[in-house]
Amino acid sequence: MTAVPLPPEAVPGVSAVEHAGVFRRLLKDPTGVVSLAFLVLTVLAGVFAPVLAPHDPDKASAADILAKPGGRYLLGADGSGHDILSRLLYAIRPTLEGAVLAVLVAAAIGVTAGLISGYYGRWFAGAASWVASLLMALPGIVVLLAARAVIGPSLFGAMTIFGILIAPAFYRVVHAAVSGVRQELYVDAARVSGLSDARIISRHILTVVRAPAIILAANLAGIAIAIEAGLDFLGLGDLSRPTWGGMLNDAFTNIYSAPLQLLWPSLAIGLTCMALALLGNALRDELERSGTPKRRRRAKRAPATVSVQREPVITHDEIAGSAGEELLLVRELAVGYDQPNGSVQTVVEDVSLTVRRGEVHGLIGESGSGKTQTAFAIMRLLPPGGRIVAGDINFAGVDLARGSEKEMTRLRGARIAYVPQEPMSNLDPSFTIGHQLTEPIRVSLGVGRAEARARALQLLERVGIPDPPRTFAAYPHQISGGMAQRVLIAGAVSCNPDLLIADEPTTALDVTVQAEVLDLLRDLQAEFQMGVLLVTHNFGVVADLCDRVSVMRAGRIVETGPVRSVFADPRHPYTKSLFDAIPEDSQPRGPLLTKETP
C-alpha cells in the first residue's frame, strides 16, 4: 500500500529467449508451490463461499456481539454480531475481482501503449513516457480519495482508476522489452521476409513480454488488494457488503475488548498479498535461473585442467649476470572456483615463477590460459568464489597465499601495484581522477592532502599527461582511454611499489598509444627499480619489454626461461605454435596474382 509503483527488482531483465517450462519448474520451488496453492484455495473458497459459509454474512445477531471463537462461530462474531468466518469468505470474491479488474485495466493500457511506443517509437514514445511519469508521480491513495469524492464509494470505479494509475508499470516493462527486441536480428529478418507488423508483434514480441508481464501482474494484484483493503478500512469503500478492510475497521474499533478479531482480516489481507508477492518472486527467480548459465564470468570460462596431462615444465638455462634479488616467488600455485555442487573447478595448477627486482617477467598465453587468474591470485584479488587452492606465494618474506586480509591491504598499493587491462572501466566513475590518485597515496603513505595532491600532479606529469591540473580535476568519462591508462599507471606507481603486476596493459588501446604506454612502463620500471609481472598474449610486447618469459597454457606453465633463450630456441610445441602464429615471422606475402600478372 505504501507505493503504487512496482516493487524493485520485481521484473528481471528481459532476455530475448522465451523461457519455456518456467511454470512447470515453478512447481518444484517450495515457495512457488505454497503461494500458488494458497491462491488457488483462496479463489476456490471465494467461488464456493455461499456453500462453505456457515452463516449468512449479513445476518447480525445482537446476542452474539463480539462472541468468542469456537462454538457457534468458528472465528467468533464481530462488533455487530456477524459471523466472522462467513464474512471473510464472502469478501474474497469482490476483493479478487477488484484486484483482477485493476490489473486488467493496467495491463490493457500499459501493454498496448508499451507495444506501440516500443515498436513504432517516435512521438508516441515521448508522449507516453511523459504521461507515465506523471501518473507515477502521484500518490495513488490520495487520487483515489479525490476520485471517491467524484464517483462515490464504488469498488470497481476505484479499481478502474487504480488500474489507470498503475498502468505505467506495465508500460515501462513492455516498452523496455519491445524496444530491446526490436533491434534483434530475428525481428529484422521477420520484417524482411515480409511478415506483417501484427504477425511480428504476436509471434516474436508478445512472447518476450509475456513472462515479465505475468510477474508484474502478480505483484500489482497484491498492491491492488492492499489498496482496496486500505480504502475499506478507512470506511471509504462500499459499506453494503463485507470486505476485509471493513472487517479490519470493525475489529479496530473493538481493539480493547476483542483484539483477537484483528487477526482474521489481517491474516486474510496479509497472506493474500504475501502469496502474490512470493509467487511473483518465485517466478522471477525461475526466470533468472534459466537465464544465468549464459552469462558466466570470464574467469570461469577457463577450461578445467584436471584432464590435462601433467608434464614437466621446460626450463631454459639462466643467462649469467641476470640474477637480482628475488622479489616474488610463486611455488606450485593452484587456483580454483567453488562450484554450486560443492566441487572446485581448478583454473590454475602447479604454477611456479620468480620475479626479481628490476626484472620484467612476461606471462604469456591465450585467453583463458589462467594468466590473469595467476596475477589476481598473487594480489589475492580473485573474483568471488575463487581462491588459492594450493601453493605458496612468497613476497619479500611474506606468504601472500596465507597472509591475513589486513596484511594484504597493507601490501597492496604500497608494495604491490596493479595496472589493469581495460582503462575506462577501472576508474571509479563517481570520483575525480585527482581523488582516485590522492586517496591511495594518503592511505598508504600517510601524507596530508596537499602533499598527496602535489605528488599526484607530479605523477600525472611524469606519465605524460599534457595538462596535469586539468586531468586532476576531471572525471573518468571526460578523458580518453590512452589518458586513462596513463592515469592508472600513475596510480600504480604512486607509492613506489616493489612489484608491479600489469594485466595486458596495452590490449585495449590504439596501436600508437600502445607503443607509448609500453615505453612509459619500461622507463618507470627502470626508474623505480621495480620487478614487473607482465601478463600479455602478445609476443611482440614480450620481446619489447621482458627479461624473462613463462608460457602458460590451460592453467599451467609449459615453458619458462630468459626471453632470449626462449625466443632463440622454443621447445614446447605450444610455444612453437605461438611463434608460428606471429605474422611478422612469416614470409611477406607477394602481390596478389591476377590474370594480368605475367
Binding site: 508521480a137 479525490a146 483484539p259 597492496r412 572501466s425 563517481s430 570520483f431 591511495p440
Partner: protein, 313 residues
Amino acid sequence: MFRFVLRRLGAGVVLVAVLSTLTFLLLYLSGGNIARRILGQQATEDTVLQKKHELGLDRPLLTRFGDWVSHAAHGNLGDSWFTGQPVSDAISSRLAVTLSLVIGATVVSAVVAVVLGVVAATRRGWADRLVQFLSVLGFAIPGFLVAIGLVTLFAIKIHLFKPTGYVQFGESPTQWLSSIALPVIALSVGGIAGVAAQIRGSLLDALRQDYVRTLRSRGLSERRVVYKHALRNAAGPALSVLAIQFVGLLGGAVIVEQIFAIPGLGQVAVGATGQGDIPLVMGLVLAIAVIVVVVNLAVDLLQGWLNPKVRVS
C-alpha cells in the same frame, strides 16, 4: 546546471497545472447538488439557491476555474465549505504533522535499508537470503497491517507507547518523538524493503565492477571500497526508489494517521473527500502535487551530485 533546474521546475509547474485542472474539472463535473449536500435535506429550495450563489456555483465553470487559479496564484485557496476555515490554514496547520511522519519514515527507511542492503551484498549467504525474503514480505504486507500490529503489541499489550494522539514538537520534543515513533516505523517497513532490495542489487553490481578490484589493489581498506566507492555508485538507483517511496508514503500516511489518530493531511483528506468539500480537496491535491514536485527536484539535484555524468550533460 541552472538550465537543468529551470527545466525540471518547468516540468513541475506543468505537472501541478495539469493535475489541478483535471481535479477541478472532475470534481465539478461530477455533478450532484453540492449546495443541497451541505445544507442537508431539510433546507428549502430558496436557501439552496442562495447557497449556490454564495458558493459561486451558478457561474460558468471556466470562470470559476479562472478565479480559483488567480486566487491560488496569490496564495488564497478559498474557504472550506463545511467549516468555513481558510483552506490554506487547514492545510498548513497539518502539513508539518504529515511531513514529520513522511520525512521521518524516509530517513528511517534510508538508514535501515543501507545497513540491510550492505550486509546482504557483502556477507551474502544466509544473511543475504534473509534480507531478500524480508524485503519481499515487507513490500507485500500493507503498511496499515504493520501499524495495527504495532498498536496492538506496543500500545495495548505492553504499554510502551500511547496508542493514539500527536504531541507538537514545541510542546515536548521527547513526547513528540514518542508519538510519531510507531507511525514512522509502520510507514518505514515498505520503504525499507524496497530500498534495501535496490541497494543490495546495485551494490552487488558495483562490487562486480573492474574499478573495485583496482581500488582494492591500491591498498584501500574493504570499508573504504564498500562504503565510499561502491555505495556511492550504488546510491543513484536507490535514491530513485526512495523518491518513489516518498510519494507512496504520502499516501500511506493517510491510513496510518487514521489508525494513530494523528491530525495530519490524511485526516483532512479522508474528511474532505467523504463530504465533497471541493475547495479543501483542491487545496490538498495542490499541496501534494507541490510536495511531489519539490521532492523530485531535490532528487534530481542529488542524482546530479552523485553522478558526475548527469551533472556535466
